[in-house]
C-alpha cells in the first residue's frame, strides 16, 4: 500500500494517541518489509546490542586467558581469532551501526520534524546489508581454519593469501564490504533527510546538536567509507586475483594498506564518537534544565573535528618510519582543542543548573569523566617520541578502551534517555543505577591497570606474557574490571525484561527540549500529529516554558 507523507499543520489534528493511517503487514512480515525508520532503527538497535553482547563475551574469554601469564583457556591460534573478532565485532558491527544506524535512525527524523527518512527503502536496505555483513563476518567461526586472525586492522601482508589462507579472512573482507555499503547508504540518507526534510522554522542553526553531529558523521562516512571499500577490494584482489598491491614480491607496498586503512580508520573514530557526543549533549542540558552551553561553539567544534580528522591518519603509523611526523603530530594535537571545547561546554551546561541524577544523566556524566581520561591519554599518543615509547603496548589498548567504554556509557545514556520514547515505557531506574555504577567503576578498574602495565612494557595482542608478578596482578585487576562491565551489560538485559510494559512513559517524561518529546511515545506512523512553532533549538521546551527562553551573553541581568 502507498503511504502519503504530509507535514502536519499546527494543532490541526488535535492530539490523538496510538492511531495512524498506516495499516501495514504485521509480525515477521512487518519486520521484513517495513520502511518505517523507527522499525528499522529498532532492528538496528537490537542487532547492534546483540553484537555488543557477543563481542563482550569474546572479551571476557580474552580477559580470562590473560588473568594468568600462562593461561591455558585458549590456544595461541584461538587467541588471535578472539581478539581479531572482538575488535572487528565491536568496531564494525556494534559501535558504528549503533552510532549512526540505531538511535540516529529513530531520533534524527523526529528531531527535525520529518515524517521519515528521505529514502525509506534505501534505509531498509542499509539494515539488511548490515545484518548480512554481521552474519558473514560471524560465519568465520564455523569454517575450517577459523575466523580472521590478523587483528581488526588486518595489516597486509599478514592478511594476504600466503599468511592468512583460510576462508575466515575472506568472510571478514566480505562482511566489511557489506557493512561498508550499509554505512554509505545510511550516510546518504541522513544527509538528504537533514538537508531536505526539516520542519518550517528549523533552520540549520536550530538543529539539536545530536542531529548536527549525525549530519557531520554522515559527511565523514561519505568521505571515508569508500576508501575502506576500495582498500578491501584491493586486498581481495591480492588474495585471489593475483595482483600484488600490498606484497613486496610483485613490487607492491605493504604500507599502502596501512595508509588506506587509517585514512578510513581515523575519521571512523570520529564517526563512532560524534553520535555519542551528540547523545550526551542532548542529555546533560535536559537534566540540568538549561540550554546547551555554547551551542554555536559546539557546532563549530564538531565541524573542526570533522575537518581535522582527515589529516591525522598516520598517527597510527608513527613507528613505521615512513610517515611525515610533524604534520601528523600537530594535526592530532590540534584535535584536542575542539574536543576540549565540547568538554567545557558540557560542564558549562551543568553549571548553575538543577541537575536531576536519573540513570541517563549518570551515564552521561560517567561518559564525560571516562572520556576525559581517554582524551588526556590520547594527547600523549599524538607526540611521535611518546608514541615510539608506548606504541603497540597496553597503554594504547587502555587509551582506546577508555574512549570506547566512554562511548558505551554514552550509548547506555542514550538508551535510558530515548528508550521511553521508543517503547512507550520507562526503564527501571534502580536497576539502571546499579548498572551504571558497575559499568563506570568496572571501566576504571579495567583500564587503569592496563595503562600501568603498558608503561611497564607489556605489548598488546599477547596470548601469554612473561611471568612478572606485577604484570600478573595488574592483569588480574583488569580482568576483574571486565567481569564488572560484563555483569552491568547483563543487568541492562535484565532491566528490559523487568520493566517490560510496566510504567507508561507519557509524551515527555524528562521535560525534554527537542521535537521528539512533542509527539507521543512511541511516535505514530510518520511521527507527528502536530508541530509547535520553532523559534530556537528547543521547540518543545519553548512550548512548555514560554517564559524561560535561552539568554544570549550580556543581554540579561538576574
Amino acid at each position: 500500500m502507498t503511504t502519503t507523507a504530509h507535514n502536519p499543520a499546527v494543532e490541526s489534528h488535535g492530539h490523538e494517541h496510538g492511531h495512524a493511517e498506516h495499516h501495514g503487514p504485521r509480525g515477521i512480515l512487518n519486520w521484513l518489509t517495513s520502511t518505517d525508520h523507527k522499525v528499522i532503527g529498532l532492528s538496528y538497535t537490537i542487532t547492534s546490542v546483540l553484537m555488543l553482547v557477543i563481542g563482550g563475551a569474546l572479551a571476557e574469554v580474552i580477559r580470562g586467558q590473560l588473568a594468568n601469564p600462562n593461561g591455558h583457556l585458549v590456544t595461541m591460534a584461538q587467541y588471535n581469532e578472539l581478539f581479531t573478532m572482538h575488535g572487528s565485532i565491536m568496531i564494525y558491527l556494534f559501535a558504528g551501526p549503533f552510532a549512526f544506524g540505531a538511535l540516529a535512525n529513530i531520533i534524527v527524523p523526529i528531531q527535525i520534524g520529518a515524517p521519515d527518512m528521505a529514502f525509506p527503502r534505501l534505509n531498509a536496505l542499509s539494515y539488511w546489508l548490515y545484518l548480512s555483513g554481521a552474519i558473514t563476518m560471524l560465519l568465520g567461526f564455523f569454517v575450517t581454519g577459523g575466523a580472521a586472525n590478523f587483528g581488526w586492522v588486518g595489516y597486509a601482508p599478514l592478511s594476504d593469501a600466503v599468511y592468512a589462507p583460510g576462508a575466515g579472512a575472506d568472510l571478514w573482507i566480505g562482511g566489511l564490504l557489506l557493512t561498508g555499503f550499509s554505512a554509505i547508504f545510511t550516510g546518504v540518507n541522513i544527509c538528504a533527510t537533514v538537508f531536505y526534510l526539516r520542519a518550517p522554522g528549523l533552520t540549520l542553526f536550530r538543529m539539536p546538536i545530536f542531529t548536527w553531529n549525525l549530519l557531520v558523521v554522515s559527511i565523514l562516512i561519505l568521505l571515508a567509507f569508500p576508501i575502506l571499500t576500495a582498500g578491501l577490494v584491493m586486498l581481495y584482489a591480492d588474495r585471489h586475483l593475483g595482483t600484488h598491491i600490498y606484497s613486496v614480491a610483485g613490487g607492491g607496498v605493504p604500507v599502502l594498506w596501512q595508509h588506506i586503512f587509517w585514512f578510513w580508520g581515523h575519521p571512523e573514530v570520529y564517526i563512532l564518537a560524534l553520535p555519542f557526543f551528540g547523545m550526551v549533549t542532548e542529555i546533560i542540558p535536559v537534566f540540568s534544565r538549561k540550554p546547551v552551553f555554547g551551542y554555536k561553539g559546539m557546532v563549530f567544534a564538531t565541524l573542526t573535528i570533522a575537518a581535522l580528522s582527515l589529516g591525522v591518519w598516520a598517527h597510527h603509523m608513527f613507528t613505521t618510519g615512513v610517515v611525515l611526523l610533524p604534520f601528523f603530530s600537530i594535526m592530532s594535537l590540534l584535535i584536542a582543542v575542539p574536543t576540549g571545547i565540547k568538554l567545557f561546554n558540557w560542564i558549562g551546561s551543568m553549571w548553575r543548573g538543577q541537575i536531576w541524577f536519573s540513570t541517563a544523566m549518570l551515564f552521561a556524566i560517567g561518559f564525560v569523566v571516562t572520556f576525559l581520561i581517554g582524551g588526556l591519554t590520547g594527547i600523549y599518543l599524538a607526540s611521535p617520541p611518546l608514541d615510539f615509547f608506548t606504541h603497540d603496548t597496553y597503554f594504547v589498548v587502555a587509551h582506546f578502551h577508555s574512549v570506547v567504554m566512554a562511548l558505551v556509557l554514552g550509548g547506555m545514556a542514550g538508551l535510558y534517555y530515548w528508550g521511553p520514547k521508543i517503547t512507550g515505557y520507562m526503564l527501571n531506574e534502580r536497576i539502571g543505577k546499579v548498572q551504571f555504577w558497575l559499568a563506570f567503576i568496572g571501566t576504571q578498574v579495567f583500564t587503569i591497570p592496563q595503562y600501568i602495565v603498558g608503561l611497564n612494557g607489556m605489548p598488546r595482542r599477547m596470548a601469554v606474557y612473561p611471568n612478572d608478578p606485577e604484570w600478573q596482578t595488574l592483569n588480574t585487576w583488569s580482568s576483574v574490571g571486565a567481569i564488572m562491565i560484563g555483569i552491568s551489560t547483563l543487568l541492562f538485559v535484565v532491566n528490559i525484561v523487568a520493566s517490560w510494559k510496566k510504567h507508561p512513559a507519557g509524551d515527555n517524561p524528562w521535560d525534554g527540549h527537542t521535537l521528539e518529546w512533542f509527539t507521543t511515545s512511541p511516535p505514530p506512523h510518520h511521527n507527528f500529529f502536530r508541530l509547535p512553532q520553532i523559534r530556537s533549538e528547543r521547540p518543545t521546551w519553548d512550548h512548555n516554558h514560554p517564559e524561560a527562553k535561552a539568554l544570549a551573553h550580556g543581554k540579561e541581568d538576574h
Binding site: 552551553f293 611518546l386 605489548p459 544570549a552
Partner: protein
C-alpha cells in the same frame, strides 16, 4: 571560577580569575624549577640517551595532563555536587559566555603549540643519526630475529624456543637497521622506551646509545601471526672491551664455522620469502 554570564562588574571577576591563574601557575613553576624531582608518572627509567629525552617529554606531558585533568575533574565534581536538583524552579537559561568560550579555546591552542614545540625538539634528538662505526642489522622473521654486524663475522639468530641475544657496546652510538622478510614486526625494547616497525621492503634505521650495561628484554610488538606472543629477544649491553672480545670470538676457526652455519640458517629463513628492497623513507628521518 564563574561559568555563567556575569553582569559586567569588571574588576572583581577579573581578580578572581587572576588569583586562579596564580594558583595554577605557581605549582607548575615550582615543579618545573625542581627539575628532575618530577615523579615518573608510571614510566620506567630508560637506559638510553634518547630514552631519557623521551622520559622528560613524558614527564612534561604528564604535568600538563594532571593539571588539566584535575581542573576539569574538579569542575565536573563541583557541578555535580553543587547543582543537584533541589526544587522545581527553572534556573537561569544562560547559553553563551563569549569571553569564557574564547578563553577555553585560546588556552588549549597555546598548550598544544607548547606541546608540539617540545615534541619536535625531542623528536629530532630521538631520530638523529650520528656517524658511528657500530652498525647492527636486525632482521625479523616469523618468528624470530637474526642480528648481523656490519664489517664483522658476528651473528646472533634465534626463534621462539631459543631466544636470540643482540650484543651491543655501552656508551656508544649504535646504528640499528630493522628489516623484515615476511610480515610487519615490531622491534621494541621496553628499557629503551623505543619501538620501530620491521616493515617488509623498508630499511628502518635508528640510533641507540645505551648508558648502562646489562641484559634487557625485547619483544615483537606488531602482531605477526601465530607465535607473536613469544617472539622475544634480548639486548645485552656490554663494555667496549667485552664487545671487542665477543666480536673476536667469531674470528676463530670454530667461531667462523658457527657464524657461517647461523648465517646459512638466516639466509634460508630469508630466501623462503622475498628479498628486501631498499626504499628510502622520506620525511620521517
Amino acid at each position: 571560577m564563574e561559568l555563567t554570564p556575569q553582569p559586567p562588574k569588571g574588576a572583581p571577576a577579573k581578580s578572581r580569575l587572576r588569583r586562579l591563574g596564580a594558583a595554577i601557575a605557581l605549582p607548575i613553576a615550582g615543579i618545573l624549577l625542581s627539575g628532575c624531582t618530577l615523579p615518573s608518572f608510571g614510566a620506567r627509567t630508560p637506559e638510553t640517551t634518547t630514552g631519557q629525552s623521551v622520559y622528560h617529554l613524558w614527564q612534561g606531558f604528564s604535568v600538563g595532563a594532571v593539571i588539566i585533568g584535575a581542573l576539569t575533574l574538579g569542575l565536573i565534581l563541583w557541578a555535580v555536587l553543587a547543582y543537584r536538583r533541589k526544587d522545581d524552579t527553572i534556573p537561569k537559561q544562560s547559553q553563551y559566555h563569549i569571553p569564557l568560550e574564547v578563553i577555553y579555546t585560546v588556552i588549549p591552542v597555546l598548550v598544544v603549540v607548547a606541546l608540539f614545540v617540545a615534541t619536535v625538539v625531542v623528536e629530532n634528538k630521538v631520530l638523529a643519526m650520528p656517524k658511528t662505526d657500530v652498525s647492527i642489522n636486525a632482521n625479523a622473521f616469523q618468528w624470530g630475529w637474526g642480528f648481523t654486524y656490519k664489517d664483522h663475522n658476528a651473528v646472533a639468530i634465534g626463534n621462539t624456543t631459543e631466544t636470540p641475544t643482540m650484543v651491543m657496546p655501552v656508551d656508544t652510538d649504535v646504528k640499528i637497521t630493522v628489516t623484515s622478510t615476511d610480515v610487519v614486526h615490531g622491534f621494541y625494547v621496553r628499557d629503551f622506551s623505543f619501538s620501530r616497525y620491521a616493515l617488509p621492503g623498508v630499511r628502518n634505521q635508528f640510533t641507540l646509545h645505551a648508558l648502562k650495561t646489562g641484559t634487557f628484554f625485547g619483544q615483537c610488538t606488531q602482531l605477526c601471526g601465530l607465535y607473536h606472543s613469544i617472539m622475544y629477544f634480548k639486548v645485552k649491553v656490554v663494555t667496549a672491551d667485552e664487545y671487542k672480545v665477543w666480536l673476536a670470538s667469531f674470528d676463530t676457526p670454530e667461531g667462523r664455522l658457527a657464524a657461517a652455519q647461523a648465517k646459512k640458517v638466516l639466509a634460508e629463513q630469508m630466501s623462503a620469502h622475498v628479498p628486501v628492497k631498499t626504499e628510502i623513507s622520506r620525511g620521517a628521518n
